[in-house]
């Protein structure tokens, strides 16, 4: 394991470079899709204007705008924590990508405990939200941070529990292993358990992303983007836009991996095996991302207490029952059915 030589270091550097290049690229693509899909869904003309054809330059214009904005740190803010907070949100986001299997062999680092690693690392960014909200020395920012922390903790549980269902059915915590263990028709088998676990995971995932209808921590009309009220320019991009869009893709990718058969073909037809797994993974993930984009302009924001009730009184009990059901299925289902 510790037999290091020069080529190992080179491999490490190449992997690191690839991750650092690919994550922003994917985020830009998803961000572009978000602009366009929402513009179409809401019949908005703004995002269709810049650059001429179909408003192709919207994202470019947006990015330039943020680069040229003044980088402001409030006088009363805690400067060190204020500038570290975007990093504490951004870095865990990038680290989660490491274990996602894009294809049978196309994974940055195949960990035995991939799923557990993913859940652990993604939980760190909550601290970043609290850091941002507290250090801004702004009431709205503090309320936003507290809402964010309460929400992320509450919805972490259904995510972990429903992911545990997938791990129990597969009998492993390795993400590659979970993909391999799934057979067509993926989420629909075992009957009920898979589908409900998927829905719980997806619902809690939307809340983890703090996107509508669960966007109370950043609610712009009540607490002005919550923890990030005082952030501007590139700091704002790295603490809100970037992690939110990247996490959207990552949650979609994880849902694809855990429940939708990952890089396996959508239907088990022989000739489809010729298509690379990366294509299937991308298609499924893109579909999930589209669902997330569709939800955002469709539903109104819930109330804070409704949000907490939904997690503690509905999603968590449901996922606990699911774990029992999954355990019973693994132990007692007839061999022919599994």
């Amino acid at each position: 394991m510790f037999e290091l030589n020069l080529s190992d270091w080179q491999i490490l550097l190449v992997k690191l470079g690839l991750v650092l290049a690919i994550v922003p690229a994917i985020t830009l693509v998803a961000g572009y899709a978000e602009h366009k899909v929402m513009a179409h869904l809401q019949h908005r003309l703004g995002p269709m204007y810049p650059g001429g054809f179909h408003g192709w330059a919207t994202l470019l214009a947006d990015g330039l705008k943020f680069i040229y904005k003044e980088d402001i740190i409030p006088a009363a803010a805690d400067r060190k924590v204020f500038s570290l907070a975007p990093l504490a949100i951004f870095v865990p986001t990038v680290l989660t990508v490491l274990v996602l299997p894009l294809d049978e062999t196309l994974v940055v680092e195949e960990l035995d405990l991939g799923l557990f690693y993913l859940l652990a690392v993604s939980s760190i960014s909550t601290i970043g939200m609290l850091m941002a909200g507290w250090s801004s020395s702004n009431k709205y920012a503090l309320i936003g941070a507290l809402r964010a922390a309460a929400q992320l903790i509450a919805y972490e549980l259904p995510i972990v529990l429903s992911a545990a269902v997938a791990a129990m059915l597969a009998g492993t915590l390795s993400l590659n292993g979970i993909v391999e263990a799934q057979e067509w028709p993926f989420v629909l088998w075992p009957p009920g358990i898979g589908l409900i676990a998927f829905l719980v995971f997806f619902g809690a995932g939307v809340a983890e992303l703090t996107r509508p209808p669960f966007d109370m921590p950043v609610a712009e009309s009540e607490i002005i983007t919550g923890a990030f009220t005082e952030y501007s320019g590139m700091r704002f991009i790295f603490s809100t836009f970037f992690p939110e869009v990247a996490n959207m893709v990552i949650i979609s990718g994880v849902a694809t991996t855990l429940f939708l058969g990952g890089y396996q073909p959508i239907v088990p037809l022989g000739f489809l095996d010729a298509v690379p797994g990366l294509v299937w993974f991308t298609l499924k993930t893109a579909f999930m991302v589209f669902m997330l984009l569709w939800i955002r302009p469709t539903f109104p924001r819930l109330r804070e207490d409704q949000l907490q009730k939904f997690a503690w009184k509905f999603l968590i009990p449901t996922s606990l029952v699911l774990i029992l059901a999954a355990g019973a299925w693994v132990l007692y289902a007839p061999e022919g059915l599994k």
């Binding site: 009363a76 609290l130 903790i153």
Partner: protein, 177 residues
């Protein structure tokens, strides 16, 4: 590069970060900074677990201590009092705390050195601990401690709900109107 050298460098580097962060936890004048320095110490512990190939413990450390315990501490601080800048919450028990910490450090070090000094573990290859083995051991040899801890946590959970719930059941109805 020699693998052992890399391991040593990592160990002492991470160890230094942990010690500095731990000292800052108790010396800083700001409670929120103290909690944030604690993150550094806990992450360092996770890194050391990874260095010992105890991956499961490492990620459990991150998920539970960094992702939940510190978040709860920060949450509690910010809900009650967490002013920016210097706020001295120290009291006269500082010397006593130092003595207790020193004694605890001495006893723990002594126990660990007494029990494991000179023991060498070959962790690579075949002997690498696997998560499956940990799971199997917890649910066979250690099933009673596991169950007792489960009951204890359940009791704590129910206790928290009992303390947090409102005394008068009528109050719930008024909120809805």
């Amino acid at each position: 590069m020699n693998a052992d050298v890399v391991r040593e460098v990592f160990f002492w580097g991470v160890g230094a970060i942990m010690v500095i962060a731990a000292l800052r936890v108790v010396t800083t004048q700001n409670v929120v900074h103290a909690a944030l320095y604690l993150v550094g110490t806990l992450m360092g512990a996770a890194a050391l677990y990874v260095l010992l190939l105890a991956e499961f413990v490492a990620w459990a450390q991150v998920l539970i201590y960094v992702g939940a315990v510190v978040v709860l501490m920060l949450f509690g601080l910010m809900l009650t009092r967490a002013p920016i800048g210097k706020a001295n919450y120290d009291n006269s028990q500082r010397p006593l705390a130092a003595v207790v910490a020193a004694v605890l450090f001495g006893v723990m070090s002594w126990i660990l050195i007494d029990a494991f000094s000179g023991t060498e573990l070959e962790l690579a290859g075949e002997n690498a601990p696997r998560t499956q083995d940990i799971g199997a051991v917890i649910f066979s040899s250690y099933v009673w401690p596991f169950e007792i801890v489960s009951v204890l946590l359940l009791a704590a959970l129910i206790g928290a709900v009992m303390i947090a719930r409102r005394d008068e059941p009528e109050a719930d109805k008024e909120v809805g109107s």
